[in-house]
């Protein structure tokens, strides 16, 4: 059994798939292809007028216990590739070899009938997923328990919330025990508790499964994948085991970091920022802020938030200093020095909030006021790469290294 851990379950060689630009030619080509395949005439696999490659020349291999992540912007061809892998669409070029039982979570709860009860719909969905009658009956209790909706299981599914439907759908799919599992952005609907439960289940399945995972959530991708493919307009832009590198490339696609002023007050004017655009890991970062104030009793509090590419706040720095200004007009200049930047490599954007006193009486808020990038550290998915003192002890030889 140990040897099985290394076997290749998915082998994809130069797979391409074309689509039509418009409905009219799509239907025409479809009808022509059907007639041709019926009469045994060879179908031309090259691009015809009004067609384009939705997926072009994708190759990869996946072993049991491995997970490949497919990322890319909307319309990059991820879902099309999944459908080709699942055998829903025939590839126009190339070959796919799948070994073992395939489970695809492209939509949860397929085949549910809204009028029937949850229990009846477990049979409907499970049969479509390929369960036998005996398997459904054996796993019924376990499915209901996993879904955590025992008390509503005999209620018509039309009265379920979307979260409850997803729970039931995933509970059924989780009992599939596939060799190859294909997951397409289906876990986004449930609440946090359920998403965590799903991941626990996926972790449980992973050692015995080859997993193909599509998501826009980079934390999820970095959590479970050991190789990724970044797709752009159907083609591979990055492929390999460097998850952080691939994710960084993915983020580059969305570089709209324009400044937006969310809240203003006529008492604060002429805001100017000057700062280093690039800083080195472990070195200082200096930010200089100039502004004019009037009608204020004291100088305001300054609140900077550093955000990563996903607009997730990862750190803040705050000015608590204040001086009496007695409602006169003043020009203020703040200089902040952060002595040691321990953020991992990448580009960060900074928001600014100005308050009369901290978090009370907001005067000004702007997002993406400026950006800076960190280099010379290492590229990790996590926001921080912390300096640490390490001590390594080797027992047995009784030797200590620093």
């Amino acid at each position: 059994m140990k040897n099985q851990e290394k076997e290749i379950l998915v082998s994809v060689q130069n797979v391409s798939k074309k689509f039509s630009m418009d409905m009219k030619s799509s239907l025409k080509y479809g009808a022509l292809d059907i007639i041709k395949s019926t009469l045994g005439i060879k179908i031309n696999k090259d691009i015809r007028p009004n067609e384009f490659w939705a997926v072009k020349d994708i190759s990869f291999e996946l072993r049991r216990g491995e997970c490949i992540g497919l990322i890319g912007h909307n319309g990059a061809g991820k879902s099309t590739l999944l459908k080709v892998l699942n055998g829903l669409y025939a590839p126009d070029k190339g070959q796919i070899v799948m070994r073992g039982k395939i489970g695809a979570l492209i939509e949860l709860g397929a085949g549910f009938n809204p009028i029937l009860t949850g229990r009846e719909n477990i049979y409907n969905n499970a049969s479509i997923l390929g369960f036998t009658k005996k398997e459904v009956e054996d796993k019924m209790d376990s499915i209901i328990e996993f879904s955590e909706i025992e008390q509503f299981i005999d209620m018509p599914v039309q009265n379920y919330s979307s979260g409850m439907k997803v729970r039931l759908g995933f509970a059924i799919a989780a009992h599939l025990e596939p060799d190859i599992l294909i997951i397409d952005e289906v876990l986004a609907v449930g609440d946090l508790g359920f998403v965590l439960k799903c991941f626990k289940k996926i972790d449980e399945l992973l050692p015995n499964t080859a997993l193909i995972f599509v998501s826009h959530s980079m934390p999820m991708i970095s959590r479970i994948c050991n190789q990724i493919i970044l797709m752009d307009h159907g083609e591979v832009k990055y492929q390999g085991a460097g998850i952080s590198e691939g994710i960084a490339l993915y983020y580059e696609h969305f570089d709209d970091m324009s400044t937006a002023t969310i809240f203003e007050n006529s008492d604060i004017t002429d805001i100017e920022i000057s700062t280093d655009k690039v800083c080195s890991w472990g070195q200082e970062l200096k930010v200089n802020l100039k502004l004019k104030i009037k009608n204020l009793e004291k100088t305001p509090s300054i609140y900077f938030v550093i955000k990563d590419k996903e607009q997730r706040g990862v750190a803040s720095f705050i000015c608590h200093e204040s001086a009496e200004v007695d409602y006169n007009e003043h020009t203020l200049e703040y200089t902040a020095i952060i002595p040691k930047i321990e953020l991992s490599n990448g580009t960060y954007s900074v928001d600014l909030g100005i308050y009369k006193t901290l978090f009370k009486g907001p005067l000004y808020r702007a997002s993406n006021l400026f950006t800076f990038s960190v280099r010379d550290g290492i590229q990790t998915w996590e926001a921080f790469y912390l300096e640490a003192q390490w001590d390594l002890k080797l027992t047995g030889g009784n030797r200590t290294t620093d």
């Binding site: 796919i96 409907n124 997923l129």
Partner: protein
Amino acid sequence: MKTTVYTSDKKTHFFQELKAIYRDTRSSSFLAYQMAKRDLQSQYRQSLLGFFWAFAPIITNSLVWIFLNSSGTVNVNAESSIPYIAFVVIGTTLWSIFTESLLIPLNSVNASRSILSKINFPKEALLIAGLYKMLFNLLLKIILIAGILIVYGIRPGYEILFFPFTLFVITVFSCMLGLFFTPIGLIYTDISRLITTAISFIMYITPVVYAVPSKGLFKKFFAINPLTYMFNDARNSLIGQPLENSTFLLIAAVVSFLLMLLGLVIFKKSMPIIIEKIGG
């Protein structure tokens, strides 16, 4: 371990495909049963009158013709051996069986459009589920026919043993026809509109509400319509008369069955193209 290969140009021949169809049909028997059960359950759960609606179209269509005939508006020629009401009810029941089986493949696939492009399951299950639903409705319709026979005191002879055979011929013939226009019909909706329009015309050159005319142009139309022979013999077997075209029926059954296998292979081969074009 089961190995699945998807390639651009799959080279298969007819018998390989047939074997695959047989295998998929067997492996999806639970799915087909479950789909039919789901549709029937949901259909009747949201209805007060329930089974009545299986009979309603037959009853209304029969009533129209009974009214037209008895009021003298239309003077139809029917067989004199049985009352006209029995003639009409049997005819329209057979007709409803024909139209239902004709549209099984198209309707079953259309009804599950939404899941076609999301889950890979044996598409044969859709056809089998449609067949199950048709058979369920058929049982109800047979009860209706039995009721009519009892009410009018028509005593069928040993010929009734041929009735299942005639039903089989009608079903296989119509499924075969339906299967052939399904692949293109799923892509262009014109086809299903064309079929529904054509059906309403064909009914008048089939002995449904009146018998075959004894002379004239219409007699020729009836003569070239294979349904004429099937319907006449199905009705004959019910009312205790001998089959008139048993050889034709046998040949029709065999030819239809073989053509149906061909239709199935075309259906299976065109499914990936269809899913790509119509799947949501």
